[in-house]
């Protein structure tokens, strides 16, 4: 392979916390407390999800700063999990998604061992939802540096400019639904875009039909989104669609008396009335 001009992106040197994690996963599998362990392994360029059912395979488990994909997406996959007792290494955002999935009664904590690795390289096992909430309130929120400039640009735009921006971006979408597939909150067995009696959303790819889809998705995410960015990261065309729901997190925080952490563990903002909700948008 020496004379081959193959371009390979260098792996970002992350803080590797894999050793402790492998030990914990090994114990969980050996004791039978867990039958399937969901974690990350090395991939072609970036770490990828892996599923470990035997202690022989725990050696490939890794966890570091590059492990940003939201593994909570697999927790509602019946064909994968069935009735198994499952362990998971959850990133900061996956923990938020797990809280939300619990609130929406999609998963049960009695069959789930939730682990994370703290910034201090400690493997943390959560016993209750309160433990997860407490951890999320103290752990630093991972920052996506790449998004900062675009968010600032979007915030500085007028409504018309924003419409122009999103129309241009969304016109490129070819509706592969990677955004939906990568999202832990998109667990519906039948998506609204698949409904055809009546057909709420035009299912083909065109500017209008794409905008219909993404606005619908953003509305369905409102108050539920963990802001993990998995939808945007999954988009093969690199459309910054995760910023639609990211910006809505702020709207929810400002208008529905929920802070960001509460927004993922409390009631669903758009289907719950609270006396403190602002009504200043009614004109």
């Amino acid at each position: 392979m020496e004379d081959v001009l193959i371009e390979k992106k260098p792996a970002i040197a992350g803080n590797s916390f894999s050793g402790e994690l492998q030990k914990t996963a090994n114990e969980l599998l050996q004791s039978g407390e867990v039958e399937l362990f969901i974690g990350y392994e090395e991939g072609t360029r970036f770490p990828r999800p892996c599923f470990i059912a035997s202690t022989d395979e725990v050696g490939k488990l890794i966890f570091d700063d590059r492990c940003t994909g939201n593994l909570a997406v697999y927790l509602t996959r019946k064909d994968l999990i069935g009735d198994k007792k499952v362990g998971i290494t959850a990133s900061y955002f996956a923990l938020r998604s797990i809280l939300r999935l619990l609130t929406e009664h999609q998963i049960q904590l009695d069959k789930l061992v939730v682990l994370t690795v703290s910034a201090e390289k400690e493997v943390i096992r959560f016993a209750t939802t309160d433990d997860i909430t407490a951890y999320l309130q103290t752990a630093p929120i991972p920052v996506r540096e790449d998004d900062k400039a675009l968010i600032e640009k979007l915030n500085a735009m007028s409504r018309e400019e924003r419409w122009e921006f999103w129309s241009a971006e969304l016109s490129k979408c070819f509706k592969c639904y990677a955004c939906r597939a990568a999202c832990p909150m998109c667990y519906c067995t039948k998506c609204i875009v698949e409904e055809n009696r009546p057909q709420w959303i035009q299912p083909w790819a065109s500017t209008l039909a794409n905008i219909e889809w993404h606005i619908n998705r953003a509305m369905h995410m409102t108050g539920r989104c963990a802001d993990c960015g998995a939808c945007g990261a999954a988009c093969p065309l690199g459309l910054p669609i995760h910023l639609l729901s990211h910006q809505i997190v702020q709207e929810v925080t400002d208008n529905f008396a929920l802070d960001v952490n509460q927004a993922v563990s409390g009631d669903n903002a758009l289907s719950t009335f609270k006396p403190e909700d602002k009504e200043n948008f009614i004109k």
């Binding site: 001009l5 193959i6 990828r48 064909d79 990568a182």
Partner: protein, 332 residues
Amino acid sequence: MKKCFISLAGLQRWLNVLIDTQKHLYAPVNKGAKVDFGRVASADEIVFDHIQTTQSAKSVAFPRTDVLFSYEKEKGKVQLENADLTAYPETVVFGLHPCDAAGFNPLGAIFNWDYKDELYNARMERTVVITLACTKADEYCFCTSVNGGPGNTVGSDIQLTPVKDGFLAEILTEKGEALVKADEAAFEADRGDVKEKYLVKLPEKFDIKTVQEKLQTAFESPIWKAQSQRCIGCGACAYVCPTCACFDIQEDAHGTKGKRLRCWDSCGFALFTLHTSGHNPRQTQAQRWRQRLLHKFSYMPDRLSVRGCTGCGRCSRACPVDMNIAEHLRSI
């Protein structure tokens, strides 16, 4: 086949002449942080130093959404109007790599299997393919494992190979010759450049014969479930693929009139095989993943004598969970 030399300036001048003669020119352009095909208004927009565009060039002949016919109901009568094939533009697609040009072969085989698809064929008739041979590759490329290569000319009307100070141009078809005539002065005499010297050397990642033999008896193999565990069932792989041709038929209806549309679909979607009865013959992602690989590497070679893969590696680059197809094929 005729060989010439063309400088970058000469190339840009020639392409601009083509644009001036009302041809739609599609070429790799910058789109945000990615490079993808787009219609260009001037040759200087074209990007040359990328490894692979996000999407293949298949949409020039098989657009993501295409009108099959339109209709209007009036006083009990239905007026039908077929898509106007004569309105399709004369198109030049430039800068695609040999793996993409090779993709038009399986794509054409599917669209002419029994029924001759007029829309696809009319678009292809009006399309001239100018490929750019590969001087570099990345870890996802595997054209040499599927009988392709960085300088493979299958499907090209003209192939350019970047050489010292310009390009070696191979004029391969009559369509290519006709296109050269638009500005013949831009082309210079062949400098005797040895093409192979400039091409990237890409070792084979697997032996395709062995893979295809193994697939013959692999239908019930547990490997499909093992490989597909992380697959999240989106259509990214199919939509960026130069040979994936599955489509859905949809109706854009507005009261008494409307259009019937053909739009991209993917065998990776759960809905793809769902019957009206509620029965789904491919209930799990493992079955859908098996279908994807067997279709490309077993059913298509058996039925159409073409393979449904050209080794472009796009599916693996696009996959949110790194379903690396070459790695999976190797592990069967």
